[in-house]
């Protein structure tokens, strides 16, 4: 076994593991694990309608942001 193969194995496996860790940390940071029971029920209640709702909320937030942008535009 050459040392380059060993370096490759170590770096690839550690990198893949690190990707998983980063995803998990992102989940924790954005509050996706804050409520255990909701996390579990999310799967139970998941359907098309929920997706519509999520899109609706996102659009609402986007619209809000745009509205603010307009308001804060300096008068010229």
């Amino acid at each position: 076994m050459s040392s380059s193969i060993m370096i490759l194995m170590l770096s690839v496996s550690t990198f893949l593991g690190a990707l998983g860790l980063v995803a998990l940390l992102w989940g924790v940071k954005t509050g996706q694990f804050d409520d255990k029971s909701k996390f579990l029920d999310g799967a139970r209640y998941d359907n098309e309608e929920e997706l519509h709702d999520a899109v609706m909320m996102e659009e609402k937030q986007k619209a809000q942001k745009e509205k603010k942008k307009k308001e804060y535009r300096p008068a010229d």
């Binding site: 060993m6 550690t14 860790l21 940390l25 924790v28 940071k29 409520d35 909701k38 909320m57 809000q64």
Partner: protein, 807 residues
């Protein structure tokens, strides 16, 4: 007639009382108009899939909403106190939602809120029932949001997130992320270390060894500096306060081992110890995380208590008009009105009316007290039956309830941990090791003039002094101890409490609910043949007074399947008793004063409370009631004395009943008629005399004393606040568990001492060798692992602790 389920709330009622409605092909039954209204609202909004999600769960039927109350939510003062203006111009509020029973309720509330125009974000936590709502103030008013929640049958009230909840959650999350990184690093380093160990014994080429070392180095670096950051910070604060604490040891040990390993890696000389760096950081960090979890629970319960305090009161203006007024705006001398079932928020003196007040949350006394004009009412008590007007004698911030909450907040954030840390043996030990390392460095430098050699030898002193064995000595033993305790229904919130509890010298017990059952029960009964027990049973069932409940329970236990008979015209006579008519016969039940009023002679004169049943002419039954000792209380107290503990009983009750209970339980020292603050002051007095005090209690009235004591034990069924501020919780409320808790803590403390003495002996042998520069890599690697294993094994022995009763 059959019982039938309400279509909305799923509660079952008799068919005859239900509102029946044809809805298409289906027949719906509703228990009230509230349920009917909500059902149609959900149906119209297309949210009726809620019922499929609800399944078999039941809901609380919605209350009729009170319109005028909602206005206050839009006042500026209210908004400033409870809401937060975000940078993007949106407002944010934290609400506690009342009436959530299941995840379907969470779903419904979120759904409805999100559908409302102007709501930008709505998140509800199922566990705490807390909601975070972000909305656009220009498009929607806060009162509208509250109204929306009410319209679907729930209620929402705001709470102040500036408390500590947010901070505690953030801290917990922070720790959790650090642990994730540490565990990831640990798992990966371990399998690399396996290769390295194998190579050590079977022979390995230097180039492979270098690759493995570099891989370990890459994995260790984030663990040490990201996960281990808390220890560096702790060590820094310790250094600023001129204290050497556990953090100093962990931080310096891990950092020096890390530096030494880098040196060994770069010079290809000696062994690397990256895996011990990661191991020590991870294990100690997990221990710390468990402590953070405990603290968060305390904060949660405190928030809940605050949210139950009413925020407004009814004030009478000079012209007799009633206005709803925020609690903060009440001045001394204002006349306030309180209705039956309401909680008093401001201390005052009654000017009109009389009624019973339940002060159980303040004094622990379970029997409501009659208060007349001129009597003082205390905040925190609940008016149980009448409309009362009283004059405020204090403002909101100095009223009793508010001051209890403030005191608790202070004690949670400022609990003196410093003395515990300073007392712990490991603190001293780490100073010694650091000193020895410095002396070794100076010695080698002086005698050999070789800086590099001196540095390596002194680092090897610290490495071999084994942060593992010493670092694990306390956490391992306490973790096992906590596990053993938890299996017996004793919850220790923090590991260090085991140590403090083992050292405690005095136990202060609360009387009601701790030593005694907390509710009166019948000890003797004398029922004449002329009366049917069913009649007594029916009569006492009409009242919720603790004495009536005691008699009711007694009758239920004496006569199987006892049924009620119809009682007409049942009346509660204040301070006297109850009366009713059965058939054409009048029946009275009450105390001695009531009987004298009826002209019935009473001859019996015992110490305990009496309850009589009579008709117009003669006495028909007598019950003697007493608050009884809990099962096993006497033996437990005797056993605690055998363990060398002093026992004191503290109570808000009368001297007479305290004396009786103390005598029965075998307690020689007791103090009666103490207010919550008095109890706390008493604990402070004991502490200043040098006693280490363990306090056991269960009510809000004990909570200040609990927070002041060195170790606080709360009964699981007690008030949430009491559980929140205490360090140890006994789940099943049994007194015997107090003794178990002491035995477990003392056994664990012994294991800690054994572990530490082992590490000291180990170090006495290993450190001199290191000082002389004779540390062979093989010895270092083996002794490091072995010393840790010994500590772990010794700690597991705690599990073999025997308890008297087998189960």
């Amino acid at each position: 007639m059959a019982d039938i389920k309400c279509t909305h709330c799923n509660l079952t009622f008799d068919e005859s009382v239900m509102i029946v409605e044809k809805d298409g092909d289906e027949t719906c039954y509703f228990c009230c108009h509230g349920c009917q209204g909500v059902y149609h609202l959900l149906k119209d909004e297309g949210l009726d899939t809620f019922y499929a999600k609800l399944g078999e769960n039941t809901l609380t039927p919605p209350k009729e909403s009170e319109k005028e109350e909602l206005e206050k939510y839009d006042y500026e003062g209210f908004q400033n106190r409870y809401t937060k203006l975000r940078e993007d111009g949106l407002r944010e509020i934290n609400l506690v939602i009342e009436g959530i029973h299941c995840s379907a309720c969470v779903w419904l509330n979120e759904k409805v809120l999100r559908k409302t125009d102007g709501v930008i974000e709505a998140d509800i936590n199922y566990t705490t029932n807390k909601a975070k709502v972000v909305w656009d103030d220009s498009a929607l008013k806060l009162s509208k949001i509250i109204e929306t929640i009410r319209s679907i049958g729930y209620n929402a009230f705001p709470y102040d997130p500036k408390l500590q909840e947010e901070y505690a959650t953030k801290k917990r999350k922070d720790y959790y992320m650090r642990i994730l990184v540490a565990v990831f690093g640990l798992m990966n380093i371990m399998w690399i270390a396996v290769a390295q160990y194998a190579g050590y014994f079977a022979g390995i080429e230097q180039k492979f060894k270098d690759i493995l070392s570099v891989a370990e180095f890459i994995l260790t670096t984030p663990v040490l500096f990201y996960s281990g950051w808390v220890f560096f910070r702790g060590a820094y604060y310790g250094f600023r306060n001129r204290m050497v604490n556990m953090d100093t040891l962990v931080a310096s040990g891990a950092l020096l081992t890390y530096l030494y390993s880098i040196y060994a890696m770069v010079t290809k000389n000696g062994e690397v110890y990256f895996e011990s760096v990661v191991m020590i950081i991870t294990f100690v960090l997990v221990g710390k995380y468990l402590e953070v979890l405990g603290k968060k629970q305390a904060v949660d319960t405190l928030d809940l208590l605050k949210s139950t305090i009413p925020t407004e009161v009814i004030k009478l203006q000079n012209n007799g008009e009633k206005v709803i007024c925020a609690v903060e705006n009440i001045n001394i001398g204002d006349i306030l009105e309180i209705k039956a079932g309401e909680k008093v928020v401001i201390d005052g003196k009654i000017v009109e009316g009389s009624g019973y007040f339940d002060e159980s949350s303040l004094s622990g006394e379970s029997i409501p007290i009659l208060k007349k004009e001129g009597d003082l009412v205390l905040s925190g008590s609940v008016c149980s039956d009448a409309l009362i007007r009283y004059e405020a004698t204090k403002d909101s911030s100095s009223s009793l309830l508010a001051s209890i909450v403030t005191l608790l907040e202070d004690s949670i954030t400022k609990k003196p941990k410093i003395e515990q840390i300073a007392n712990s043996i490991s603190g001293y030990f780490s100073i010694i090791i650091l000193l020895i390392a410095i002396v070794t460095f100076i010695g080698w430098l002086y005698f050999t003039q070789d800086v590099q050699r001196a540095l390596i030898v002194s680092i090897s002193v610290i490495v071999i002094a084994c942060p593992c064995a010493l670092g694990l000595a306390t956490p391992m033993a306490t973790l096992v101890g906590i596990g053993v305790a938890a299996r017996r229904g004793i919850l220790f919130k923090e590991a260090t409490f085991l140590e403090t509890m083992a050292k405690s010298t005095l136990v202060a017990l609360d009387k009601t609910g701790t030593v005694t059952e907390g509710k009166p029960s019948v000890i003797t009964a004398d029922i004449s043949k002329d009366i049917d027990p069913k009649l007594i049973y029916s009569l006492v069932s009409t009242s919720t007074h603790p004495i009536s409940l005691g008699v009711k329970n007694y009758l239920e236990s004496q006569f199987e399947d006892i049924q009620t008979v119809t009682i007409k015209d049942a009346k509660n006579i204040q301070g006297r008793g109850i009366s009713g008519i059965h058939g054409n016969k009048k029946v009275y039940g009450g105390n001695e004063a009531y009987m004298q009023e009826l002209g019935i002679a009473i001859t019996k004169k015992p110490l305990n409370s009496l309850f009589f049943i009579a008709d117009d002419s003669k006495l028909l039954a007598t019950f003697e009631l007493k608050d009884q000792l809990k099962e096993g209380a006497k033996e437990t107290i005797a056993n605690l004395k055998k363990l060398g503990l002093k026992i004191v009983m503290l109570t808000g009750d009368h001297d007479q009943s305290a004396q009786a209970i103390a005598q029965e339980a075998g307690i020689t020292e007791y103090h009666a008629e103490l207010l919550p603050q008095d109890k706390a002051a008493f604990i402070d007095g004991l502490k200043s005399k040098g006693e280490i005090v363990t306090m056991v209690g269960d009510g809000i009235n004990d909570s200040i004393a609990l927070s002041k004591s060195n170790i606080a034990i709360a009964m699981g069924g007690g008030a949430d606040v009491a559980i929140g501020v205490s360090d140890v919780v006994l789940i099943d409320e049994s007194v015997k568990k107090i003794e178990d808790a002491f035995r477990i803590s003392r056994r664990s403390y012994r294991a800690i001492k054994e572990n530490i003495s082992f590490s000291i002996i180990y170090n006495i042998i290993a450190v001199p060798m290191a000082i002389m520069g004779y540390v062979y890599p093989l010895v270092a690697a083996l002794s490091m692992s072995l010393s840790s294993l010994v500590v772990v094994g010794n700690s597991i022995r705690i599990k073999r602790l025997r308890f008297k009763e087998k189960n």
